[in-house]
């Protein structure tokens, strides 16, 4: 029983990271209608940036804030420079660009910082949260940071005019232009925010998976599974999907002997396939209400 509870809590902790990546994927999906395969590598690159800043002697939280800001700017730049020119191009062009971005960021990180695995600091420590507690301080910190991030995003989209304009652009780009919204810039903003969210996820997961150019490969896969499970049209669904994937992954790895640590990846793929076959719109991506 205790083991079960502990595994569920640990699953939620890693699930928060999948939730962040899933959310980033859904955000770019809503602005450009494509899945960004490079989301994980963007997060990885951001994490290396944070590592470098810390190496240069900056305090953790200063490096954290600076990395989020730089990642936001980087996301905006990628949208403006790489994606804007092809925004009317067919799906395959986008896929090619995303794979290109993935490869470029991956090898660039390896070129600058080499492929050796590096430890990444945690600001929360690794001691158990309370004596005999189920989760350690870093896992609790991951959950807390994610909750703060989600609360901030909710407030932004729900209560600010820019947030409203971004939702309107995702809902109906043509009508959004007709009320004067600069839809192109809203897409850039969405990319910036997705990159910033990915940066937070990368910095939070790095102490666990360690820092190296391929660190986000698995995380991205789980993030995709979470996004598909929750529904690509639903940001809240993506978050819940990510959490579910985290818990399922952990429980299956512990309690199904065949799966163990080796086959954990397969679970993400199995979830993706199962959802696409049985409920393609995901758990929360219900079809839009429409009365004619």
């Amino acid at each position: 029983m205790e083991l079960l509870l502990q595994q569920i809590l640990a699953g939620i902790a890693t699930g928060t990271i999948y939730a962040c990546i899933a959310l980033a994927i859904v955000m770019t999906y809503q602005t450009i209608g494509h899945l960004n395969f490079a989301q994980g590598e963007m997060a990885m690159f951001s994490t290396f940036l944070a590592w470098q800043l810390i190496q240069w002697g900056l305090p953790y939280w200063t490096a954290f804030a600076l990395t989020v800001a730089l990642s936001f700017a980087g996301g905006v730049l990628i949208e403006r420079i790489v994606l804007r020119p092809i925004h009317n191009a067919p799906v395959l062009s986008h896929v090619a660009v995303f794979i290109g971005l993935l490869a470029i960021l991956n090898s660039l990180a390896g070129f600058i910082w080499d492929f050796n695995v590096k430890p990444f600091p945690t600001p929360f420590g690794t001691a158990p949260l309370i004596a005999n507690g189920f989760i350690d301080a870093h896992q609790a910190g991951m959950i807390a940071v994610t909750i703060l991030l989600l609360a901030f995003l909710y407030g932004f989209f729900r209560f600010t005019r820019v947030g409203l304009a971004m939702r309107a652009s995702a809902n109906d780009p043509v009508s959004a232009r007709l009320v004067g919204i600069r839809v192109g810039w809203m897409a850039a903003l969405g990319w910036g925010m997705a990159a910033a969210i990915g940066a937070v996820a990368g910095m939070m997961i790095a102490p666990i998976v360690f820092l190296e150019p391929n660190m986000m490969l698995g995380v991205l896969l789980y993030g995709f599974a979470g996004a598909v499970l929750g529904g690509l049209g639903s940001p809240a669904g993506a978050v819940i999907g990510g959490l579910i994937v985290g818990v399922v992954e952990n429980l299956a790895g512990t309690f199904i002997p065949v799966v163990g640590g080796e086959l954990k990846f397969t679970i993400a793929l199995a979830i993706i396939v199962a959802v696409l076959v049985m409920k393609p719109q995901g758990l929360f991506g219900r079809p839009v209400l429409h009365r004619v």
């Binding site: 939702r167 809902n171 959004a176 232009r177 009320v179 919204i181 600069r182 839009v288 209400l289």
Partner: protein, 237 residues
């Protein structure tokens, strides 16, 4: 006096299909002009071309400035509100969010709040449904929402694309009464595209007949209403 909107030799096409072949028309400040014509005459295309939603060629002057090369977003900022074909509802957002979006380019928060109440005054049903998902509104309610959203811009000119389409006659009457009030009391100029010539000619002071991308006749709305030959041959009633 120079007209509020002056269009000369307007051409537009969708891809390689040319739809407008040199339209000329004008709209006086505080006036109501209607473009009449059947399906495929190019009425909707004309409105789209005016606010830069499609490729266009020609001269378009609004309030003394050329807008022939301006982007849709900038034309909106000059005070041109477009109530599009199909109403352009943000179906996943609430009714009130739809209205707030109409004023998204404005900065005067207090005046925006007052305008929201004003729109609710015109369309009480929208107030009742303010927190409802806009996609669940009936056709007539969505048309009211579209007009309300356009009003939230405090426009100088409103482009209306077949506001009567698909609505019950009683709703159409109600809607056009409100449009008339907007024009007379608030001084909003209206460019109205319609297939329903009867209601359009009642509201308008000037009318143009459009056929296959050309203006074939223009004159005072009153004259066209009384000109049986034109009514029979172009308007079909």
């Amino acid at each position: 006096m120079t007209p509020l909107l002056q269009v000369r030799d307007l051409h537009a096409s969708y891809g390689s299909t040319r739809v407008l072949h040199g339209l000329d028309f004008a709209l006086e400040e505080k006036g109501v002009t209607t473009l009449l014509g059947g399906n495929g005459a190019g009425k909707t295309t004309t409105l789209r071309a005016l606010c830069g939603m499609i490729e266009r060629r020609g001269e378009i002057t609004f309030a003394g400035r050329s807008i022939a090369r301006a982007s849709t977003e900038d034309i909106v900022r000059m005070g041109v509100a477009h109530v599009p074909d199909g109403r352009g509802t943000f179906v996943r957002l609430t009714v009130e969010e739809n209205l707030e979006l109409g004023a998204i380019t404005r900065r005067d928060r207090r005046a925006i709040a007052a305008d929201l109440e004003r729109v609710y005054g015109y369309f009480p049903i929208l107030q009742k449904r303010r927190s409802q998902q806009a996609g669940t509104l009936s056709g007539g309610e969505q048309q009211m929402l579209a007009i309300g959203r356009a009003l939230m811009l405090r426009p100088r000119l409103m482009l209306l694309d077949e506001p009567s389409f698909g609505l019950a006659p009683r709703v159409v009457q109600e809607l056009f009464a409100i449009l008339s009030t907007l024009n007379k009391d608030e001084g909003v100029s209206l460019l109205l595209v319609e297939q329903n010539a009867t209601v359009a000619l009642d509201l308008a002071d000037h009318a143009y007949l459009v056929e296959t991308g050309r203006i074939v006749f223009s004159g005072a709305a009153r004259d066209i209403r009384q000109n049986e030959k034109i009514r029979r041959s172009y308007l079909g009633y």
